[in-house]
Structures are given as C-alpha cells and as structure tokens.
C-alpha cells in the first residue's frame, strides 16, 4: 500500500514522522496498548483517542466465554476477535452507541455488562436507590417513634413498688 506518486510518498513520510513524534510523547499506558494491538496481529491503526475509545468499549462488553469478565480483561480467542472487530468499526467511523448496538444485535443485551437503562432492566438501576431511600425513611420513622416513647415512659410510669423489697427493708430494720 505504498503510494506511487511523489506527493503521496511525501504524505507517507510526514505521517511516519508525526507518528514517531506522537509515539515519543506517549505515556507508558499507550505503549502497553500498542503492544496489545501488536499481539492482535494485522489490525487497523488507531489514533490515541480512538484507542482510548476502543478500550472504553472493551470494558463495557461481556466476554461470551468467561461471562463474568469484560473482553478487556479476557484473553480468550473470542474476546480477541471482538477487540479486533471494535477497532475495525471505530476505523470505519462508527460511534460508540453504534458499536454497542452492533454487539447487542448479535449477542443480545446480555453482552452489555451494564444493562441498558430501559424496560425491566431499569429495576437494576432504580432498586438500589429506592432501597436506600426506603431504609432512610424507615430509620427516621423508627427514630421518631423511639424518641417520643422513651421520655413519656419515664414520666408516666414510676418504678413499681415491690412488696418483697418493703418486707426485706422492714425485716432488716427489725434485726437491727
């Protein structure tokens, strides 16, 4: 794929120089993602921003083989294939939502580690918040009930008189 025209060749040289400069300024993390990309074999080359997007999407997709891991964490064949596909789709100019939809169309919504925020799945997002609110309301009600009950009990009910205690004191006095 080396361009035949001199202008094309100049462009290629400029691109190589630019990537060398960018490469020199890159952080250690970018270097490691570069190595990961190399491990995937022949694949599309992405800009650092696109690479960051690819990593983000990888973290949101479930690995079909290991199930509880994202494909970013997984080293299975299937995850590697999916990572490569994500990069191809990014290079084609697809948006993050379009890439998520691409995988949902093939694997179902199960492939998303975070369930989509609609329908029955909304429960997963709303229930924890609702539980916290219900707990807080319950605590407030219980605290109020305790607060109103304890001083009332102290004033209304005097300590019960015990006939045994009276008798004990009387007998003690008699023995003295």
């Amino acid at each position: 794929m080396i361009p035949a025209s001199p202008a094309g060749r100049t462009g290629l040289v400029l691109a190589v120089l630019a990537s060398a400069v960018l490469g020199g300024a890159s952080t250690a993390q970018e270097a490691s993602t570069g190595a990961a990309q190399e491990a995937l074999g022949p694949s599309v080359t992405l800009t650092p921003e696109q690479e960051a997007r690819a990593r983000e999407i990888e973290g949101a997709l479930r690995c079909p083989v290991c199930r509880s891991q994202s494909i970013r964490q997984s080293r299975s064949f299937m995850a590697e294939d999916m990572k490569r596909r994500i990069r191809e789709l990014i290079a084609e100019g697809r948006s993050d939502d379009e890439i998520h939809d691409f995988f949902v169309e093939r694997y179902g919504p199960w492939i998303l580690l975070d369930p989509p925020k609609r329908g029955f799945n909304l429960a997963a997002w709303l229930l924890p918040g609702a539980a916290v609110v219900a707990g807080a309301v319950g605590l407030v009600i219980a605290a109020r009930r305790w607060a109103s009950r304890s001083p009332a009990r102290a004033s209304v009910e005097p300590p019960p008189a015990s006939p045994y205690l009276d008798r004990l004191e009387r007998e003690l006095e008699e023995t003295e």
Binding site: V65, F77, M78, E80, D81, M82
Partner: protein, 200 residues
C-alpha cells in the same frame, strides 16, 4: 399481617433473582428472523472425491442467494465437531446442492483444519475465518454452532452444540419450507472459543 406482607415481598425478590440467574441466555440468537450477516472467505483446497469448488476460490454468502444455507462453525480442536462431522457430510450428500452447506473453521490452524477435512471426507464449502470476524458477526459463543439461513437470506434458526441426523432432518424440513424454528441444542456441548481449551 405486616409479617405476611414482608414475606411476600421477600418471596417476590427471590423469584425475580432465581429467574434472572437461571435464565438461559446463550441459546437464543437475536439474529433469528433478520438478514444473515454477509461473509466471504477463500476455500480450503478441495479434498475427497467430490470437490465442490476450485481450491483457493472465494465464496461469499451472496453467491448462495436463493438457496437455503446450512452454515456450520467448527474447529479441528473441537471434540463435539468430530461427532457431527459425519452428520454434516451425509446431510450435504443427501440434500445438496439444492441446499448449500458451508463450514467455517474458527480459530484454527489451516493445516490442522485440512487434516480434519481429509480425515472425515468433507466435500462441501469449507474455509477459514481468519480474522474471527465472521464468528463475531454471528454472535458465536463456541463451536460447534450451526445457523440455518432461508432462501431469502434471513436467519431462520440456530443450533448450539453438535447436530444429530434427526436434528438436521428436522431443521432442513423447516428450512426448505421457509419456517422459522426455535433455537435448539445444548449449550453445555459447545466448546468455548477459549485460549485454555486450545491444545495447540
């Protein structure tokens, strides 16, 4: 009364959890009823007595338009694929060429795949999914998996795990009648496309 209400709420929560945790998610395919994802690959060298296409020539799904297609994903390292190898070859000899049979080797070494083809005398369209793109396009979990594509190019059914002769006959009756079928099979018999399961 209050205690019954609390028990009721707890039972409902457990029922929802039990449903969510035991629901089978791998069998159904969102592709059923939709246009089959296109593919194109170079065929392995023909082996066996009845080569269906010249070696190295390319096959695309669009070449098979108007025909029902049995699209099987397999690998030479997959044990269940050995069980169904004869089923597919018998099916091809019986129903082909009116029904196209296509076998795509996933994550396989070409030489190992060719040896597998020779060993089981396979003669239908066989080629590698070199980049793994076709496997992802069909939402594969492992091998073997088989998709049944109608003459109009829509996915009619998916079978997870090895096919038996009965499975194939039933599926092909549906396929030639253009009926959509339920997803069938046993996900436990699928070898996941996992690095750990690869003997290479």
């Amino acid at each position: 009364m209050k205690r019954f209400l609390l028990l009721g709420v707890l039972a409902a929560v457990f029922a929802v959890l039990a449903y969510a945790l035991t629901r089978e998610t791998t069998l159904a395919s969102p592709l059923i009823g939709r246009a089959a994802p296109g593919f194109a690959f170079s065929l392995f060298e023909p082996v066996g007595a009845d080569p269906v296409a010249p070696a190295g020539s390319r096959l695309a799904l669009s070449d098979l338009a108007g025909k029902p297609v049995v699209l099987n994903f397999w690998a030479s390292w997959c044990l269940s694929c050995r069980d169904e190898a004869a089923v597919l070859e018998t099916g091809w000899r019986r129903y082909g060429p009116d029904v196209a049979f296509v076998g795509i080797a996933v994550n396989d070494e070409p030489d190992a795949a060719r040896a597998f083809i020779a060993r089981y005398g396979k003669t239908y369209f066989l080629g590698p999914d070199q980049s793994g793109a076709v496997a992802v396009d069909y939402g594969l979990y492992g091998v073997p998996e088989t998709f049944f594509i109608g003459p109009d190019g829509r996915v009619l059914a998916r079978h997870v795990g090895p096919l038996t002769h009965e499975d194939l006959d039933r599926r092909l009756a549906d396929l030639t009648a253009g009926r959509a079928g339920r997803a069938t099979g046993d996900p436990d018999l699928v070898t996941p496309l996992d690095r750990g399961d690869d003997p290479r």
